[in-house]
């Protein structure tokens, strides 16, 4: 029997997930021995037309990382879905929306205004912004670009997904387990996140120092304190999201004295990661007085960025409903007289 074919593809992502594949190190050789990599734009010279030429379901599995932002990414997701038996959302962005998903606090117009016009480092007196089609002179040629959507979506909001490999990027151990499970045909039910279904605290080396009852008056950020390298970070007042996050990563961030920011996402019992993490942290604040607790919580500078860092598009609200707050970028030298990022008037423009 010929070796099963697999493909890798990237959408709106940083490239870290591709690194994670390379991070398999010697294990990568085992993988290459067992499968035929037939599509991997970052490393191998296969083209979209090669995939298009395949029969439906010809690939055993495709691993797609990155969120879905453009029409081209939608097309590729659909194409790979068609040509693969299994479609696996690889990494936080494709699983939950990831960091690129935080752009759902804005929309296309606000992003274009900022990136191509208002940013202090931009010189663009003619106000040129990318066009989906540009006609070239008289010869009738036209150049095209993919369309940039208003909203970032997860892979499973775009096409059906069989499995999820969580993490930013997915831990090597989980990737190897998943590949082996596919090869040995020992996969769990469709829709499963291929990681343990327990909270991170469970496998954290500092678990023993986590008090049963926590009451926090100070919520600190890593640069504000000298950390005890042995003690539970939450007990030290750092916003460690371990209690709300799925395990499976062996807590590398904690080992490096950094609080968990929640990249593996929620366990299966939780629908909206950010709401759950926020709820867990808020209940620890040591105050029963409404005014005082509000002041203490001011120490959480950016609630959406903290709790929805990797999961805004997958959340219940999935994007900002409308703009109530002025842009944080508005101020001196920031496009005086012009509308700031996100300060769209009314609902007149999409």
């Amino acid at each position: 029997m010929s070796k099963p074919k697999v493909g890798f593809y990237w959408c709106a992502s940083c490239g870290g997930c591709e690194e994670a594949v390379v991070d398999l190190a010697e294990d990568l050789l085992k993988v290459v021995e067992a499968v035929d990599i037939v599509f991997w734009p970052v490393a191998l010279d296969f083209k979209r037309s090669d995939v298009e030429a395949m029969k439906d379901g010809e690939m055993a599995a495709s691993f797609v990382n990155g969120a879905i932002r453009t029409s081209e990414q939608e097309e590729m997701a659909e194409l790979l879905r068609k040509k693969s038996q299994l479609l696996i959302a690889f990494g936080s962005c494709s699983h939950l929306g990831g960091i690129p998903g935080l752009a759902n606090l804005w929309d296309r117009q606000a992003i274009f205004e900022c990136v191509y016009k208002e940013a202090p480092s931009v010189v663009n007196p003619e106000g040129v912004v990318p066009q989906e089609q540009t006609k070239l002179g008289s010869n009738g040629y036209a150049l095209t670009l993919p369309s940039f959507r208003d909203t970032v979506r997860t892979l499973d909001q775009t096409v059906e997904v069989d499995y999820y490999l969580p993490g930013c990027p997915p831990p090597v151990k989980l990737i190897v387990n998943a590949v082996m499970a596919i090869l040995e045909n020992k996969l769990p039910p469709k829709g499963t996140v291929l990681a343990p279904d327990k909270a991170l605290c469970d496998e954290c080396s500092r678990k023993a120092t986590k008090p049963d009852k926590l009451a926090l008056r100070e919520l600190k950020r890593p640069h504000q304190i000298l950390m005890d390298p042995k003690k539970c970070l939450l007990a030290q007042g750092l916003l460690c999201l371990g209690p709300a996050t799925r395990s499976g990563c062996d807590a590398p961030c904690i080992s490096a004295n950094m609080p968990c920011t929640g990249c593996l996402g929620p366990t299966s019992r939780v629908k909206d990661y950010g709401a759950k993490a926020m709820s867990a942290i808020a209940s620890l604040v040591d105050s029963n007085d409404e005014k005082e607790m509000a002041v203490l919580m001011e120490q959480i500078v950016d609630p959406v960025g903290t709790f929805y860092r990797y999961s805004l598009p997958a959340s219940l609200l999935h994007r900002r409903v409308r703009n109530l707050t002025p842009s944080p970028f508005k101020g001196e030298g920031w496009g005086e007289g012009k509308k700031g990022l996100g300060e769209r008037s009314g609902g007149a423009q999409r």
């Binding site: 099963p4 439906d56 379901g57 055993a60 879905r81 068609k82 038996q85 606090l105 296309r108 117009q109 106000g127 040129v128 912004v129 989906e132 369309s147 940039f148 959507r149 208003d150 909203t151 499973d156 909001q157 775009t158 059906e160 997904v161 998943a178 596919i182 045909n185 020992k186 996969l187 769990p188 039910p189 996140v193 990681a195 343990p196 279904d197 299966s268 629908k271 909206d272 950010g274 709401a275 759950k276 926020m278 709820s279 808020a282 209940s283 029963n288 409404e290 919580m297 609630p303 959406v304 709790f307 598009p313 959340s315 219940l316 999935h318 994007r319 409903v321 409308r322 109530l324 609902g347």
Partner: protein, 199 residues
């Protein structure tokens, strides 16, 4: 000039609905002539729910806009429930619990207060007016307070207008050749080896 160049060919097949305000008449397509505020009320069974019962038995009239859901304690109201209510079409969410110190489970209402305090900030950043979420302490004997709060909340939401949270479009359907449960190398799926749970 700049605006024009931006709008030329940028068409989005997943456009966001226009935001609506009360000034626009507050109508949603297909929703009949007049919009009415939809409020979801999460009441703790020991105090606020009993108070609502009392209000009913005392034949007090108040705005009929709230759908009451009974909880054991306001501390059981997960912020996810609030977001889910907004996602499903609620224009406002009201949470009612026992007065501070009176919670049947000692501290559930303090926990609720902490969560709601932070949730309101989060809502504001997500573009939902924090006034759409209200937490009230109403004891079992305060039927008149239920009446007052319900009326106030309805008036407030009426003033704010409909919320309408848009949902992401559903994923594209699978091509028919791929809907079977067949496995990559044929055969039946073996028992789960990898630990995990549904998303």
């Amino acid at each position: 000039m700049s605006k024009k160049s931006l709008d030329l060919t940028m068409k989005d097949p997943h456009p966001r609905p226009l935001s609506r305000s009360a000034g626009e008449g507050g109508r949603r397509p297909g929703e009949g002539p007049a919009w009415e505020p939809k409020i979801v009320a999460f009441f703790c069974t020991w105090c606020t729910y009993t108070a609502a019962d009392l209000a009913g038995m005392s034949r007090m009239t108040y705005a009929p806009n709230a759908r009451i859901v009974r909880f054991m304690c306001s501390g059981r109201v997960d912020p996810q429930f609030v977001l889910k209510a907004f996602q499903e079409g609620a224009d406002g969410v009201l949470i009612g619990g026992c007065h501070p110190g009176d919670c049947h489970y000692q501290s559930g209402n303090y926990k609720a207060l902490r969560r709601i305090t932070l949730l309101k900030r989060l809502l504001k950043e997500m573009g939902i007016e924090p006034e759409r979420l209200r937490l009230e302490w109403i004891s079992a004997s305060e039927g008149d307070r239920v009446q007052k709060v319900m009326n106030e909340m309805t008036a407030k939401i009426r003033q704010l207008g409909p919320l309408h949270v848009e949902r992401p479009s559903p994923p594209a359907p699978l091509p028919s050749s791929r809907t079977g449960e067949e496995c990559p190398q044929g055969g039946v799926r073996a028992k789960a080896e990898v630990q995990g749970g549904a998303r």
